[in-house]
């Protein structure tokens, strides 16, 4: 974003020209005032929908905010809402584990596949824009579509997966995928990867597009193999785009909710509950805004941590 950080010079240019001081001052002030006026609505709206709920959550997290139980509602709770996460019978720790594993697996798989996809889609060929559109559509449709699609595909009675396994005489036919702990994760991973891999590919294609073709010409003349070109040229030059894709995907996978809610509803039992799912349950099933606020704060802190780790790792290595 270097272009934005640079001081622009529409009327600002006059600030550098030899003119009377007062005139220079008014133009600069005018320019700043215009900037402030233009950005104020956006900042106000964003503060209202993020900073305000954040502050509200902080208050809630340290109070009992349970409208259904009037005699306790609004009283100070100290750390009780946070302690509840680690109380006996709490599903917080398993949900944290599920979320971390889900994030690691889905991000790794999606970035890996997306890299292959982006490389294959980067070279021009006939009908490329049609192929790109076809591959991007799963990302662009609502999550409810990808979730319902794979819920049906994995349905043992009417779905395609069972049919294909049966047809190919493979084991696993007759599995009620979403009714078993391990297999329900498989269905969730597939649905998530189907929707989000194209998104990673979109970002990586953008990264590949800005790599100048001449570099490869030079490498070819030097006799570098395709693999060497990929390792020594493509991958390092793709690093900024990879970083963006990784941060985007890691944070959104860490906050995964809707695909879980629609496909498995956290089940069977509590075996596919994630942190965001727990948070939702606290708000909309238990109407416990204190506990929900506490989970929200934990989510926010963990997201900041993830972002900080990524920034540090990428800064150190490049």
């Amino acid at each position: 974003m270097a272009a934005i950080d640079q001081a622009p010079d529409v009327p600002g240019r006059s600030a550098d020209s030899p003119r009377p001081r007062s005139r220079r001052g008014t133009l600069l002030t005018q320019d700043r005032r215009l900037g402030l006026l233009l950005i104020a609505p956006a900042i106000a709206l964003l503060l209202a929908i993020t900073a305000y709920p954040l502050g509200y959550n902080v208050w809630n997290a340290f109070h009992y905010v349970v409208p259904d139980i009037p005699f306790i509602n609004g009283k100070a709770a100290g750390l009780a809402n946070f302690r509840r996460m680690f109380a006996v019978g709490s599903t917080f720790e398993p949900a944290l584990l599920h979320t971390v594993v889900f994030t690691l697996v889905s991000v790794t798989v999606e970035v890996g596949i997306a890299l292959v996809l982006a490389l294959a889609l980067n070279k021009p060929f006939r009908g490329r824009s049609l192929v790109r559109a076809a591959v991007f559509i799963p990302w662009a449709v609502p999550t409810v579509v990808s979730a319902e699609a794979w819920k049906e595909m994995f349905d043992p009675r009417q779905g395609f997966v069972d049919y294909a396994l049966h047809l190919l005489h493979l084991p696993g036919s007759g599995t009620t995928w979403l009714a078993n702990t391990d297999t329900s994760w498989v269905a969730l991973f597939v649905a998530d990867a189907w929707k989000n891999t194209p998104f990673v590919a979109i970002i990586l294609i953008g990264g590949l597009q800005v790599i100048p073709a001449e570099i490869y010409e030079a490498a070819k003349i030097d006799g570098a193999s395709a693999w060497r070109q990929f390792r020594r040229l493509t991958l390092p030059l793709l690093k900024p785009a990879l970083m963006v894709a990784l941060i985007f995907r890691t944070l959104s996978a860490f906050l995964v909710f809707d695909v879980v809610y629609i496909m498995s509803n956290g089940g069977p039992g509590t075996s596919t509950e994630t942190l965001a799912y727990l948070d939702f349950n606290a708000f909309h099933v238990d109407y416990d805004y204190g506990y929900g606020g506490a989970i929200s704060l934990v989510l926010i802190v963990l997201c900041l941590l993830i972002a900080a780790v990524y920034t540090r790792v990428f800064r150190e290595r490049g």
Binding site: L34, F125, E152, G206, A226, D279, F280, I300
Partner: protein, 296 residues
């Protein structure tokens, strides 16, 4: 690679090394197969849902698997639209997504211009805040906003959804548009000011028309992101007639005793068509929308 390429020792490639030409074709074939698999995996679930949406409930209960359509009935669509008023949900989605898009484009363009072209103070902080807002965990918004909206009797209102959808659309639109504005030559704006237009006039007469392609890209992205929401609609609407289409889909065709995939899939087909058309028409814009500014 054209045949005009000259190899190191100065001979045209045509005479250079004929056996090496086989490699690229093999690689090309591999790539074709790979892409065919990707296209198949991407589109097959849609095909499956389309053929299911044309089945009758009786067909489904018969439980026959088939790759080809076995029947063509509009009963699922009729059920969704006539019996469950699904058209209302689609209309809600359209109203909310379009309103979000308009607000995002207007507010986002203004902010993008301010960041790209004025000497506003504290730009790095503002950009940082916008970025963080874009990554804000939306679940953390749900509880407090629900309390606030219900106190204000705003549950089931379009405004609650539009306001919360801005968290999806505004940050990315501002980043994209700021970058877009900074790439428009300053000279055209300067020339207009020299010609005697005021700054604001110059902005509307000269900059806005040039910025239209960028604004269109921001609009397309915003529409897709707003159209696809599930979490906020689930949290802030309670009456089925106020549901957005994605939320309605998760309720349609689910009775207490049975699930009707044909009804779900008919609703899915309807909600997918506008998005599919948008992607077909604007695939290039979508790539640029997500990558400009991020890959520099």
């Amino acid at each position: 690679m054209s045949t005009l390429t000259i190899t190191r020792d100065g001979r045209p490639t045509e005479f250079a090394a004929p056996p090496r030409r086989r490699l690229p074709t093999l690689a090309a074939a591999g790539r074709t197969v790979l892409l065919a698999v990707f296209v198949l995996v991407s589109l097959f679930p849609f095909y499956w849902m389309v053929i299911t949406s044309f089945k009758t409930t009786a067909d489904l209960n018969a439980g026959t698997h088939s790759l080809l359509p076995t029947s063509f009935s509009l009963s699922a669509y009729r059920n969704d639209f006539a019996q469950y008023d699904y058209w209302r949900n689609v209309l809600n989605s359209a109203i909310v997504a379009l309103s979000t898009t308009v607000i995002t484009v207007v507010v986002g363009s203004a902010a993008g211009y301010a960041l790209a072209r004025t000497r506003l103070r504290g730009k790095p902080v503002l950009l940082g805040f916008i970025l963080v807002a874009g990554f804000f965990p939306i679940m953390a918004m749900v509880g407090p906003l629900f309390l606030t909206f219900s106190h204000a009797h705003l549950i089931d209102s379009y405004w609650t959804l539009i306001a919360s959808y801005l968290v999806y659309t505004l940050p990315i639109a501002i980043w994209f548009l700021a970058n877009f504005f900074s790439q428009i030559p300053v000279e055209i704006e300067e020339a207009a000011v020299v010609d005697g237009l005021t700054r604001l006039r110059a902005l509307f007469r000269v900059v806005v028309p040039v910025a239209m392609p960028g604004v269109l890209t921001a609009a397309i992205l915003s529409f897709i992101l707003a159209w696809n929401d599930f979490t906020f609609a689930l949290s802030f609407t309670q009456t089925p007639s106020h549901y957005t289409a994605p939320l309605a889909i998760s309720n349609l065709g689910h009775s207490q005793f049975q699930v009707f995939p044909n009804m779900i899939d008919a609703a899915v087909v309807v909600v997918t068509i506008p998005i599919a058309l948008l992607v077909l028409a604007a695939q290039r814009r979508i790539v640029s929308g997500f990558t400009s500014g991020s890959t520099k």
